[in-house]
Protein backbone atom coordinates (compact mmCIF):
# COMPACT_ATOMS: atom_id res chain seq x y z
CA UNK A 1 0.00 0.00 0.00
CA UNK A 2 2.26 2.73 -1.28
CA UNK A 3 -0.23 5.49 -0.50
CA UNK A 4 -0.54 4.66 3.17
CA UNK A 5 3.12 4.11 4.03
CA UNK A 6 3.56 7.79 4.79
CA UNK A 7 0.81 7.65 7.39
CA UNK A 8 2.63 4.90 9.21
CA UNK A 9 5.82 6.94 9.22
CA UNK A 10 4.22 10.02 10.74
CA UNK A 11 2.29 7.96 13.26
CA UNK A 12 5.39 6.15 14.44
CA UNK A 13 7.07 9.49 15.06
CA UNK A 14 4.54 10.16 17.80
CA UNK A 15 6.23 7.63 20.05
CA UNK A 16 9.83 8.43 19.29
CA UNK A 17 12.24 10.23 21.53
CA UNK A 18 12.29 13.98 20.94
CA UNK A 19 15.57 15.46 19.79
CA UNK A 20 14.74 18.99 20.86
CA UNK A 21 16.56 20.42 23.84
CA UNK A 22 14.91 22.98 26.09
CA UNK A 23 17.72 25.37 25.36
CA UNK A 24 17.56 28.25 27.80
CA UNK A 25 16.44 25.92 30.56
CA UNK A 26 18.91 23.14 29.91
CA UNK A 27 22.13 23.42 27.96
CA UNK A 28 24.06 20.99 25.90
CA UNK A 29 27.45 19.93 27.20
CA UNK A 30 30.03 22.10 25.47
CA UNK A 31 33.21 20.70 23.96
CA UNK A 32 36.24 21.24 26.18
CA UNK A 33 38.06 23.19 23.51
CA UNK A 34 35.23 25.47 22.51
CA UNK A 35 36.37 28.94 21.54
CA UNK A 36 34.46 31.32 23.76
CA UNK A 37 35.17 34.65 25.31
CA UNK A 38 38.76 35.24 26.41
CA UNK A 39 40.23 35.34 29.87
CA UNK A 40 43.55 36.80 30.98
CA UNK A 41 45.19 34.28 33.28
CA UNK A 42 47.35 34.67 36.37
CA UNK A 43 50.18 32.57 37.71
CA UNK A 44 49.56 30.53 40.82
CA UNK A 45 51.06 33.26 42.97
CA UNK A 46 48.56 35.76 41.59
CA UNK A 47 50.90 37.55 39.18
CA UNK A 48 49.51 38.38 35.76
CA UNK A 49 50.81 36.30 32.89
CA UNK A 50 50.50 39.05 30.29
CA UNK A 51 53.76 40.79 29.52
CA UNK A 52 52.34 43.35 27.12
CA UNK A 53 54.22 42.05 24.07
CA UNK A 54 51.32 42.79 21.70
CA UNK A 55 51.84 39.59 19.71
CA UNK A 56 48.14 38.81 20.11
CA UNK A 57 47.21 42.19 18.71
CA UNK A 58 49.62 41.69 15.85
CA UNK A 59 48.32 38.29 14.86
CA UNK A 60 44.64 39.09 15.24
CA UNK A 61 43.05 38.88 11.77
CA UNK A 62 40.02 40.87 12.89
CA UNK A 63 42.09 43.61 14.51
CA UNK A 64 39.98 43.43 17.62
CA UNK A 65 42.72 43.43 20.26
CA UNK A 66 44.32 46.58 21.56
CA UNK A 67 47.29 46.18 23.94
CA UNK A 68 49.60 48.70 25.51
CA UNK A 69 52.59 47.43 27.53
CA UNK A 70 54.20 49.30 30.38
CA UNK A 71 57.25 48.75 32.58
CA UNK A 72 56.45 46.96 35.81
CA UNK A 73 56.60 49.15 38.90
CA UNK A 74 59.78 48.14 40.69
CA UNK A 75 58.34 47.88 44.19
CA UNK A 76 55.02 46.26 43.20
CA UNK A 77 55.38 44.30 39.94
CA UNK A 78 52.19 43.18 38.18
CA UNK A 79 53.80 40.43 36.12
CA UNK A 80 57.00 38.41 36.61
CA UNK A 81 58.59 39.88 33.48
CA UNK A 82 59.91 43.30 32.63
CA UNK A 83 56.64 44.71 31.35
CA UNK A 84 52.96 44.06 31.82
CA UNK A 85 49.80 44.59 29.84
CA UNK A 86 48.69 47.97 31.07
CA UNK A 87 45.83 48.38 28.61
CA UNK A 88 44.19 45.27 27.25
CA UNK A 89 40.97 45.56 25.27
CA UNK A 90 39.10 43.10 23.07
CA UNK A 91 36.25 44.30 20.89
CA UNK A 92 33.75 41.47 20.69
CA UNK A 93 31.89 43.11 17.85
CA UNK A 94 34.94 42.26 15.76
CA UNK A 95 36.35 39.10 17.37
CA UNK A 96 35.88 35.95 15.31
CA UNK A 97 37.13 33.57 18.03
CA UNK A 98 39.83 32.09 15.80
CA UNK A 99 42.15 31.58 18.78
CA UNK A 100 45.21 32.87 16.92
CA UNK A 101 45.91 35.19 19.85
CA UNK A 102 46.03 32.17 22.12
CA UNK A 103 48.50 30.48 19.81
CA UNK A 104 50.61 33.59 19.55
CA UNK A 105 50.84 34.28 23.28
CA UNK A 106 54.28 33.32 24.60
CA UNK A 107 53.16 33.12 28.24
CA UNK A 108 49.70 31.51 27.92
CA UNK A 109 48.31 34.71 29.32
CA UNK A 110 45.32 34.83 27.03
CA UNK A 111 43.13 31.76 26.63
CA UNK A 112 39.48 31.23 25.74
CA UNK A 113 36.77 30.06 28.07
CA UNK A 114 33.76 28.09 26.85
CA UNK A 115 31.35 30.98 27.23
CA UNK A 116 29.74 32.19 24.04
CA UNK A 117 26.41 33.30 25.45
CA UNK A 118 26.94 36.96 26.12
CA UNK A 119 24.64 39.58 24.71
CA UNK A 120 25.52 43.16 25.45
CA UNK A 121 23.11 45.86 24.47
CA UNK A 122 25.51 48.70 23.70
CA UNK A 123 28.84 49.12 21.97
CA UNK A 124 30.76 50.06 25.11
CA UNK A 125 29.85 46.78 26.74
CA UNK A 126 31.16 45.01 23.65
CA UNK A 127 34.68 46.22 24.39
CA UNK A 128 36.02 44.11 27.21
CA UNK A 129 38.71 45.84 29.21
CA UNK A 130 41.62 44.36 31.12
CA UNK A 131 39.64 44.42 34.36
CA UNK A 132 36.82 42.45 32.82
CA UNK A 133 39.06 39.90 31.12
CA UNK A 134 41.35 39.17 34.07
CA UNK A 135 40.49 36.20 36.25
CA UNK A 136 39.57 37.01 39.83
CA UNK A 137 41.37 36.02 43.03
CA UNK A 138 40.20 32.38 42.70
CA UNK A 139 41.35 32.11 39.11
CA UNK A 140 37.81 32.15 37.81
CA UNK A 141 36.56 34.43 35.04
CA UNK A 142 34.65 37.49 36.11
CA UNK A 143 30.94 37.06 35.40
CA UNK A 144 29.48 40.15 33.84
CA UNK A 145 25.76 40.88 34.10
CA UNK A 146 25.05 40.15 30.44
CA UNK A 147 26.87 36.83 30.41
CA UNK A 148 25.05 33.53 30.91
CA UNK A 149 27.33 31.43 33.08
CA UNK A 150 26.09 28.14 34.43
CA UNK A 151 27.34 25.97 37.25
CA UNK A 152 30.80 24.61 36.45
CA UNK A 153 31.22 26.49 33.21
CA UNK A 154 33.90 28.75 34.62
CA UNK A 155 36.08 25.71 35.31
CA UNK A 156 37.46 25.23 31.80
CA UNK A 157 39.14 28.45 30.85
CA UNK A 158 42.13 27.17 28.90
CA UNK A 159 41.07 24.12 26.95
CA UNK A 160 43.03 24.88 23.85
CA UNK A 161 46.38 24.87 25.64
CA UNK A 162 46.18 21.33 26.86
CA UNK A 163 44.86 19.98 23.57
CA UNK A 164 47.85 20.88 21.49
CA UNK A 165 51.39 19.70 21.36
CA UNK A 166 53.98 22.24 20.26
CA UNK A 167 54.71 22.13 16.54
CA UNK A 168 52.35 19.17 16.10
CA UNK A 169 54.87 16.83 17.68
CA UNK A 170 53.08 13.60 18.54
CA UNK A 171 55.77 12.44 20.90
CA UNK A 172 55.27 15.60 22.86
CA UNK A 173 51.63 14.86 23.46
CA UNK A 174 50.45 14.37 27.00
CA UNK A 175 53.57 16.03 28.24
CA UNK A 176 52.78 19.02 30.33
CA UNK A 177 54.27 22.05 28.64
CA UNK A 178 52.33 24.78 30.27
CA UNK A 179 52.53 26.82 33.40
CA UNK A 180 50.18 26.63 36.33
CA UNK A 181 47.14 28.87 36.75
CA UNK A 182 45.83 30.63 39.80
CA UNK A 183 43.19 28.46 41.43
CA UNK A 184 43.73 25.49 39.17
CA UNK A 185 47.41 24.64 39.43
CA UNK A 186 49.05 22.84 36.57
CA UNK A 187 46.24 21.34 34.59
CA UNK A 188 46.56 17.70 33.53
CA UNK A 189 46.82 16.92 29.82
CA UNK A 190 43.90 15.50 27.89
CA UNK A 191 44.07 11.78 27.35
CA UNK A 192 43.92 9.84 24.13
CA UNK A 193 44.91 12.51 21.66
CA UNK A 194 47.42 10.43 19.75
CA UNK A 195 46.58 8.65 16.53
CA UNK A 196 47.16 5.24 18.16
CA UNK A 197 44.73 6.23 20.90
CA UNK A 198 47.42 5.88 23.54
CA UNK A 199 48.44 8.14 26.35
CA UNK A 200 50.54 8.01 29.45
Amino acid sequence: MGYLDGFRVTFKKLFEQRVTQQYPAEKQEKPVRLHGRHVLNRYEDGMEKCIGCELCAGVCPAKCIYVRGKDNPVDDPVSPGERYGFVYEINYLRCIHCDLCVEACPTEAITESKLFEFSFTNRYDAIYTRDELLVDGDGRPRQLPWEDWREGEDEWTSGWMRATSPSGDVAFENTVAWSGELGHGIRPPEQGQRADGGGE
Binding site: F7, T10, F11, K13, L14, E16, R18, V19, Q22
Partner: protein, 400 residues
Protein backbone atom coordinates in the same frame (compact mmCIF):
# COMPACT_ATOMS: atom_id res chain seq x y z
CA UNK B 1 -38.59 8.63 15.48
CA UNK B 2 -37.81 12.22 16.31
CA UNK B 3 -40.44 14.91 16.01
CA UNK B 4 -40.32 17.01 12.88
CA UNK B 5 -39.45 20.17 14.74
CA UNK B 6 -37.62 20.71 17.98
CA UNK B 7 -40.21 20.05 20.73
CA UNK B 8 -39.08 23.25 22.39
CA UNK B 9 -40.58 25.29 19.57
CA UNK B 10 -43.63 23.15 18.81
CA UNK B 11 -45.75 24.63 21.59
CA UNK B 12 -46.51 28.27 22.34
CA UNK B 13 -43.33 30.34 22.45
CA UNK B 14 -42.87 32.49 25.51
CA UNK B 15 -40.02 34.15 27.33
CA UNK B 16 -38.72 30.89 28.74
CA UNK B 17 -38.41 29.24 25.34
CA UNK B 18 -36.54 32.25 24.00
CA UNK B 19 -34.20 32.23 26.98
CA UNK B 20 -33.47 28.54 26.45
CA UNK B 21 -32.62 29.23 22.82
CA UNK B 22 -30.39 32.15 23.81
CA UNK B 23 -28.69 29.94 26.37
CA UNK B 24 -28.02 27.28 23.75
CA UNK B 25 -26.59 29.88 21.37
CA UNK B 26 -24.25 31.24 24.02
CA UNK B 27 -23.09 27.78 25.04
CA UNK B 28 -22.52 26.73 21.43
CA UNK B 29 -20.58 29.93 20.74
CA UNK B 30 -18.42 29.49 23.81
CA UNK B 31 -17.83 25.84 23.02
CA UNK B 32 -16.81 26.61 19.48
CA UNK B 33 -14.35 29.30 20.55
CA UNK B 34 -12.78 26.98 23.10
CA UNK B 35 -12.75 24.18 20.54
CA UNK B 36 -10.95 26.40 18.05
CA UNK B 37 -8.38 27.39 20.65
CA UNK B 38 -7.90 23.77 21.47
CA UNK B 39 -7.72 22.78 17.82
CA UNK B 40 -5.00 25.32 16.99
CA UNK B 41 -2.96 24.16 19.95
CA UNK B 42 -3.66 20.51 19.23
CA UNK B 43 -2.64 20.83 15.61
CA UNK B 44 0.61 22.57 16.41
CA UNK B 45 1.43 20.16 19.18
CA UNK B 46 0.52 17.02 17.24
CA UNK B 47 2.26 18.08 14.07
CA UNK B 48 5.28 18.83 16.20
CA UNK B 49 5.11 15.34 17.63
CA UNK B 50 4.79 13.85 14.17
CA UNK B 51 7.85 15.79 13.05
CA UNK B 52 9.80 14.74 16.12
CA UNK B 53 9.61 18.23 17.62
CA UNK B 54 8.05 19.42 20.84
CA UNK B 55 5.72 22.14 19.60
CA UNK B 56 4.51 25.09 21.66
CA UNK B 57 5.42 24.61 25.31
CA UNK B 58 6.01 28.08 26.71
CA UNK B 59 2.58 29.56 27.44
CA UNK B 60 0.82 27.69 30.20
CA UNK B 61 1.08 23.96 30.90
CA UNK B 62 2.07 22.12 27.70
CA UNK B 63 1.77 25.42 25.87
CA UNK B 64 -2.01 25.22 25.97
CA UNK B 65 -2.42 28.98 26.27
CA UNK B 66 -0.35 29.62 23.15
CA UNK B 67 -3.44 30.29 21.03
CA UNK B 68 -4.70 32.80 23.56
CA UNK B 69 -1.36 34.57 23.54
CA UNK B 70 -1.33 34.65 19.73
CA UNK B 71 -4.89 35.94 19.66
CA UNK B 72 -4.10 38.74 22.10
CA UNK B 73 -1.03 39.64 20.05
CA UNK B 74 -3.04 39.79 16.82
CA UNK B 75 -5.62 42.04 18.44
CA UNK B 76 -3.01 44.61 19.34
CA UNK B 77 -1.21 44.65 16.02
CA UNK B 78 -1.64 47.35 13.44
CA UNK B 79 -4.53 46.77 11.08
CA UNK B 80 -3.37 47.46 7.54
CA UNK B 81 -5.59 48.35 4.62
CA UNK B 82 -3.80 48.19 1.26
CA UNK B 83 -4.12 51.25 -0.98
CA UNK B 84 -5.42 49.22 -3.90
CA UNK B 85 -7.94 47.33 -1.83
CA UNK B 86 -11.65 47.54 -2.34
CA UNK B 87 -12.21 48.81 1.17
CA UNK B 88 -15.74 47.60 1.81
CA UNK B 89 -15.27 44.11 0.38
CA UNK B 90 -11.87 43.81 2.02
CA UNK B 91 -13.45 44.45 5.41
CA UNK B 92 -16.45 42.26 4.70
CA UNK B 93 -14.59 39.14 3.54
CA UNK B 94 -13.29 37.87 6.93
CA UNK B 95 -16.83 37.87 8.29
CA UNK B 96 -18.09 35.99 5.25
CA UNK B 97 -15.55 33.32 6.09
CA UNK B 98 -16.19 33.27 9.82
CA UNK B 99 -19.95 33.49 10.22
CA UNK B 100 -20.84 30.45 8.04
CA UNK B 101 -18.40 28.40 10.09
CA UNK B 102 -20.40 29.35 13.17
CA UNK B 103 -23.74 28.77 11.54
CA UNK B 104 -22.91 25.28 10.29
CA UNK B 105 -22.25 24.17 13.82
CA UNK B 106 -25.70 25.28 14.96
CA UNK B 107 -27.40 22.37 13.17
CA UNK B 108 -25.11 19.68 14.58
CA UNK B 109 -26.65 17.56 17.34
CA UNK B 110 -23.94 17.32 19.97
CA UNK B 111 -25.81 15.06 22.38
CA UNK B 112 -29.10 13.51 23.32
CA UNK B 113 -30.01 9.87 23.60
CA UNK B 114 -31.25 8.71 20.21
CA UNK B 115 -30.87 4.96 20.71
CA UNK B 116 -33.18 4.39 23.66
CA UNK B 117 -34.89 7.77 23.72
CA UNK B 118 -36.04 10.30 21.15
CA UNK B 119 -32.92 12.46 21.38
CA UNK B 120 -34.42 15.16 23.54
CA UNK B 121 -33.11 16.29 26.88
CA UNK B 122 -34.72 18.31 29.60
CA UNK B 123 -33.22 21.78 29.83
CA UNK B 124 -34.69 24.12 32.49
CA UNK B 125 -37.85 22.03 32.42
CA UNK B 126 -38.18 22.27 28.64
CA UNK B 127 -37.88 19.27 26.33
CA UNK B 128 -35.39 20.14 23.62
CA UNK B 129 -32.80 18.75 21.24
CA UNK B 130 -29.13 19.33 22.00
CA UNK B 131 -28.50 21.51 18.98
CA UNK B 132 -29.04 25.20 18.51
CA UNK B 133 -31.42 24.78 15.59
CA UNK B 134 -32.99 21.84 13.84
CA UNK B 135 -34.29 23.10 10.51
CA UNK B 136 -36.03 20.46 8.37
CA UNK B 137 -33.48 21.30 5.65
CA UNK B 138 -30.43 20.96 7.92
CA UNK B 139 -28.12 19.30 5.41
CA UNK B 140 -29.00 21.78 2.68
CA UNK B 141 -28.25 24.54 5.15
CA UNK B 142 -24.83 23.04 5.78
CA UNK B 143 -24.06 22.87 2.06
CA UNK B 144 -25.35 26.40 1.50
CA UNK B 145 -23.26 27.82 4.32
CA UNK B 146 -20.11 26.06 3.20
CA UNK B 147 -20.68 27.63 -0.23
CA UNK B 148 -21.04 31.07 1.31
CA UNK B 149 -17.69 30.52 3.02
CA UNK B 150 -16.15 30.24 -0.46
CA UNK B 151 -17.16 33.86 -1.03
CA UNK B 152 -15.16 34.90 2.01
CA UNK B 153 -11.98 33.43 0.55
CA UNK B 154 -12.73 34.51 -3.00
CA UNK B 155 -13.62 38.11 -2.16
CA UNK B 156 -10.68 38.42 0.22
CA UNK B 157 -8.24 37.61 -2.55
CA UNK B 158 -10.06 39.68 -5.14
CA UNK B 159 -10.43 42.80 -3.00
CA UNK B 160 -6.83 42.87 -1.81
CA UNK B 161 -5.66 44.52 -5.03
CA UNK B 162 -2.55 42.39 -5.11
CA UNK B 163 -1.46 39.59 -7.38
CA UNK B 164 -0.74 36.73 -4.98
CA UNK B 165 -4.06 36.99 -3.17
CA UNK B 166 -5.76 37.15 -6.54
CA UNK B 167 -4.07 33.95 -7.69
CA UNK B 168 -5.01 32.34 -4.39
CA UNK B 169 -8.63 33.32 -4.71
CA UNK B 170 -8.80 32.14 -8.32
CA UNK B 171 -7.57 28.78 -7.15
CA UNK B 172 -9.97 28.85 -4.21
CA UNK B 173 -12.95 29.47 -6.44
CA UNK B 174 -12.14 26.66 -8.83
CA UNK B 175 -11.15 24.21 -6.14
CA UNK B 176 -13.98 24.81 -3.73
CA UNK B 177 -16.68 24.87 -6.35
CA UNK B 178 -15.54 21.63 -7.98
CA UNK B 179 -15.13 19.83 -4.68
CA UNK B 180 -18.44 21.19 -3.44
CA UNK B 181 -20.02 19.05 -6.17
CA UNK B 182 -18.34 15.85 -4.98
CA UNK B 183 -19.19 16.78 -1.40
CA UNK B 184 -22.88 17.26 -2.17
CA UNK B 185 -23.09 14.09 -4.26
CA UNK B 186 -21.66 12.00 -1.42
CA UNK B 187 -24.10 13.60 1.01
CA UNK B 188 -26.90 12.61 -1.37
CA UNK B 189 -26.26 8.94 -0.58
CA UNK B 190 -26.80 9.65 3.11
CA UNK B 191 -29.95 11.61 2.42
CA UNK B 192 -31.24 8.81 0.20
CA UNK B 193 -30.83 6.22 2.94
CA UNK B 194 -32.05 8.38 5.80
CA UNK B 195 -34.96 9.84 3.89
CA UNK B 196 -34.63 13.17 5.68
CA UNK B 197 -32.65 16.38 5.40
CA UNK B 198 -32.86 17.18 9.08
CA UNK B 199 -29.61 16.52 10.93
CA UNK B 200 -31.35 15.20 14.01
CA UNK B 201 -33.42 12.95 11.74
CA UNK B 202 -30.26 11.57 10.13
CA UNK B 203 -28.78 10.91 13.55
CA UNK B 204 -32.00 9.23 14.71
CA UNK B 205 -31.89 6.97 11.65
CA UNK B 206 -28.46 5.70 12.73
CA UNK B 207 -29.40 4.99 16.33
CA UNK B 208 -29.10 1.16 16.31
CA UNK B 209 -25.50 0.84 15.13
CA UNK B 210 -26.79 1.12 11.57
CA UNK B 211 -24.37 3.94 10.86
CA UNK B 212 -24.30 5.41 7.39
CA UNK B 213 -20.59 4.63 7.25
CA UNK B 214 -21.32 1.00 6.38
CA UNK B 215 -24.92 1.40 5.19
CA UNK B 216 -23.72 3.56 2.32
CA UNK B 217 -20.80 1.26 1.66
CA UNK B 218 -17.87 3.38 2.83
CA UNK B 219 -17.25 5.00 -0.56
CA UNK B 220 -19.42 8.11 0.07
CA UNK B 221 -17.63 8.50 3.40
CA UNK B 222 -14.22 8.38 1.73
CA UNK B 223 -15.34 10.86 -0.93
CA UNK B 224 -16.80 13.14 1.73
CA UNK B 225 -13.61 13.02 3.77
CA UNK B 226 -11.41 13.84 0.77
CA UNK B 227 -13.60 16.56 -0.67
CA UNK B 228 -14.24 17.89 2.84
CA UNK B 229 -10.51 18.31 3.29
CA UNK B 230 -10.38 20.13 -0.04
CA UNK B 231 -13.33 22.27 1.00
CA UNK B 232 -11.49 23.25 4.18
CA UNK B 233 -8.40 24.23 2.17
CA UNK B 234 -6.38 22.05 4.46
CA UNK B 235 -3.27 20.21 3.35
CA UNK B 236 -2.84 18.36 1.02
CA UNK B 237 -5.38 20.66 -0.68
CA UNK B 238 -4.05 23.98 0.60
CA UNK B 239 -3.30 25.41 -2.83
CA UNK B 240 -5.28 28.46 -1.84
CA UNK B 241 -2.68 29.43 0.70
CA UNK B 242 0.36 27.57 -0.64
CA UNK B 243 2.98 29.57 1.24
CA UNK B 244 5.78 28.37 -1.01
CA UNK B 245 4.10 29.65 -4.16
CA UNK B 246 1.71 32.42 -3.17
CA UNK B 247 3.20 33.97 -0.02
CA UNK B 248 0.02 33.56 2.02
CA UNK B 249 -2.52 33.15 -0.75
CA UNK B 250 -5.79 34.96 -0.23
CA UNK B 251 -4.83 36.36 3.17
CA UNK B 252 -1.45 37.79 2.15
CA UNK B 253 -2.63 41.37 2.62
CA UNK B 254 -4.52 40.73 5.82
CA UNK B 255 -3.10 41.55 9.21
CA UNK B 256 -4.08 41.88 12.84
CA UNK B 257 -7.71 41.20 13.75
CA UNK B 258 -8.87 40.51 10.21
CA UNK B 259 -6.17 37.90 9.76
CA UNK B 260 -7.14 36.43 13.12
CA UNK B 261 -10.71 36.09 11.85
CA UNK B 262 -9.55 34.12 8.81
CA UNK B 263 -7.40 31.97 11.00
CA UNK B 264 -10.30 31.41 13.35
CA UNK B 265 -12.62 30.58 10.47
CA UNK B 266 -10.20 28.05 9.05
CA UNK B 267 -9.88 26.10 12.26
CA UNK B 268 -13.54 26.51 13.09
CA UNK B 269 -14.35 25.01 9.70
CA UNK B 270 -12.13 22.07 10.56
CA UNK B 271 -14.06 21.50 13.76
CA UNK B 272 -17.46 21.91 12.12
CA UNK B 273 -16.54 19.73 9.15
CA UNK B 274 -15.48 16.98 11.54
CA UNK B 275 -18.76 17.43 13.38
CA UNK B 276 -20.68 17.15 10.10
CA UNK B 277 -18.83 13.97 9.15
CA UNK B 278 -19.63 12.48 12.54
CA UNK B 279 -23.26 13.46 12.18
CA UNK B 280 -23.71 12.19 8.65
CA UNK B 281 -21.69 8.99 8.69
CA UNK B 282 -20.84 7.95 12.24
CA UNK B 283 -24.16 8.32 13.99
CA UNK B 284 -23.40 11.56 15.82
CA UNK B 285 -23.95 11.05 19.53
CA UNK B 286 -25.01 7.41 19.14
CA UNK B 287 -22.99 4.76 20.90
CA UNK B 288 -23.20 2.14 23.61
CA UNK B 289 -25.69 3.17 26.30
CA UNK B 290 -25.59 2.00 29.90
CA UNK B 291 -25.97 3.27 33.42
CA UNK B 292 -28.51 5.55 35.06
CA UNK B 293 -30.86 7.94 33.33
CA UNK B 294 -28.76 11.12 33.73
CA UNK B 295 -25.72 9.29 32.32
CA UNK B 296 -27.68 8.10 29.32
CA UNK B 297 -29.31 11.41 28.45
CA UNK B 298 -26.53 13.89 29.18
CA UNK B 299 -23.09 12.38 29.55
CA UNK B 300 -22.66 9.38 27.27
CA UNK B 301 -24.08 10.73 23.97
CA UNK B 302 -22.00 13.89 24.18
CA UNK B 303 -18.99 11.82 25.18
CA UNK B 304 -19.36 9.61 22.11
CA UNK B 305 -19.88 12.63 19.92
CA UNK B 306 -16.76 14.41 21.11
CA UNK B 307 -14.74 11.23 20.96
CA UNK B 308 -15.67 10.75 17.31
CA UNK B 309 -15.07 14.44 16.65
CA UNK B 310 -11.64 14.14 18.19
CA UNK B 311 -10.76 11.20 15.96
CA UNK B 312 -11.44 13.31 12.89
CA UNK B 313 -9.52 16.28 14.22
CA UNK B 314 -6.63 13.89 14.67
CA UNK B 315 -7.08 12.54 11.14
CA UNK B 316 -7.04 16.04 9.64
CA UNK B 317 -3.79 16.85 11.41
CA UNK B 318 -2.43 13.49 10.36
CA UNK B 319 -3.24 14.29 6.73
CA UNK B 320 -1.38 17.53 7.07
CA UNK B 321 1.68 15.92 8.62
CA UNK B 322 1.85 13.21 6.00
CA UNK B 323 0.73 14.31 2.57
CA UNK B 324 2.52 16.76 0.28
CA UNK B 325 0.46 19.36 -1.55
CA UNK B 326 -1.35 18.46 -4.77
CA UNK B 327 -0.41 20.15 -7.99
CA UNK B 328 -3.22 22.25 -9.40
CA UNK B 329 -3.96 19.98 -12.38
CA UNK B 330 -3.79 16.89 -10.17
CA UNK B 331 -6.31 18.51 -7.87
CA UNK B 332 -8.72 19.23 -10.70
CA UNK B 333 -8.19 15.77 -12.22
CA UNK B 334 -9.00 14.09 -8.95
CA UNK B 335 -12.09 16.20 -8.35
CA UNK B 336 -13.68 15.95 -11.78
CA UNK B 337 -12.42 12.64 -13.08
CA UNK B 338 -12.45 10.52 -9.96
CA UNK B 339 -14.51 11.87 -7.07
CA UNK B 340 -17.53 13.24 -8.92
CA UNK B 341 -18.04 10.17 -11.19
CA UNK B 342 -17.50 7.84 -8.25
CA UNK B 343 -19.94 9.73 -6.04
CA UNK B 344 -22.53 9.90 -8.80
CA UNK B 345 -22.14 6.22 -9.76
CA UNK B 346 -22.32 5.07 -6.18
CA UNK B 347 -25.41 7.17 -5.63
CA UNK B 348 -27.08 5.45 -8.61
CA UNK B 349 -26.25 2.02 -7.18
CA UNK B 350 -27.66 2.97 -3.78
CA UNK B 351 -30.79 4.29 -5.46
CA UNK B 352 -31.14 1.01 -7.40
CA UNK B 353 -30.73 -1.01 -4.21
CA UNK B 354 -33.25 1.19 -2.48
CA UNK B 355 -35.81 0.59 -5.22
CA UNK B 356 -35.09 -3.14 -5.22
CA UNK B 357 -35.51 -3.48 -1.48
CA UNK B 358 -38.80 -1.57 -1.58
CA UNK B 359 -40.10 -3.79 -4.38
CA UNK B 360 -40.64 -7.51 -3.70
CA UNK B 361 -40.62 -8.44 -7.42
CA UNK B 362 -36.97 -7.55 -7.86
CA UNK B 363 -34.12 -9.78 -6.70
CA UNK B 364 -32.09 -7.62 -4.34
CA UNK B 365 -28.88 -9.66 -4.49
CA UNK B 366 -28.87 -9.54 -8.27
CA UNK B 367 -29.30 -5.75 -8.23
CA UNK B 368 -26.40 -5.35 -5.79
CA UNK B 369 -24.08 -7.59 -7.78
CA UNK B 370 -24.97 -6.11 -11.15
CA UNK B 371 -24.82 -2.57 -9.79
CA UNK B 372 -21.38 -2.97 -8.21
CA UNK B 373 -20.12 -4.76 -11.32
CA UNK B 374 -21.35 -1.96 -13.58
CA UNK B 375 -19.85 0.62 -11.20
CA UNK B 376 -16.39 -0.88 -11.33
CA UNK B 377 -16.66 -1.57 -15.05
CA UNK B 378 -17.61 2.08 -15.56
CA UNK B 379 -14.74 3.31 -13.42
CA UNK B 380 -12.40 1.03 -15.35
CA UNK B 381 -13.63 2.40 -18.66
CA UNK B 382 -13.19 5.94 -17.37
CA UNK B 383 -9.62 5.18 -16.31
CA UNK B 384 -8.98 3.60 -19.70
CA UNK B 385 -10.35 6.63 -21.52
CA UNK B 386 -8.21 8.95 -19.42
CA UNK B 387 -5.10 6.89 -20.00
CA UNK B 388 -5.58 6.76 -23.74
CA UNK B 389 -6.25 10.49 -23.93
CA UNK B 390 -3.11 11.13 -21.91
CA UNK B 391 -1.17 8.97 -24.35
CA UNK B 392 -2.66 10.97 -27.19
CA UNK B 393 -1.50 14.19 -25.60
CA UNK B 394 1.96 12.77 -25.07
CA UNK B 395 2.17 11.68 -28.67
CA UNK B 396 1.11 15.07 -29.94
CA UNK B 397 3.60 16.70 -27.56
CA UNK B 398 1.11 18.68 -25.48
CA UNK B 399 2.30 17.26 -22.17
CA UNK B 400 5.30 15.26 -21.09
Amino acid sequence: MTPLVDPLLSGPIGLQEILVVVFKVVVAFAFLMVAVMFMVWFERKLIGDMQNRIGPNRAGPWGILQTLADGVKLFFKEDLLPDNADRFVFKLAPYLALIPAFLIFTVVPVGGNYSTGDGTVSLFGEETLLQVADPPVGVLFVLAMSSVAVYGVMLAGWSSGSKYPLLGSVRATAQMISYEAALSLSVLSVILLSGTLSTSGIVAEQSQWNWNLWLTGFIPFAIFLISGTAELNRPPFDLVEAEQELVGGFHTEYSAVRFALFFLAEFMNTVTMSAIIVTLFLGGPNGPMFGPEWLQSWVLPSLWFFLKLFVFLFVFVWFRATLPRFRYDQLMDMGWKLLIPAALGWFLILAGIQVASDNDDINLALVVIVGVAIFFAGMGLLMLAMRSSRRQRQLSGVTD
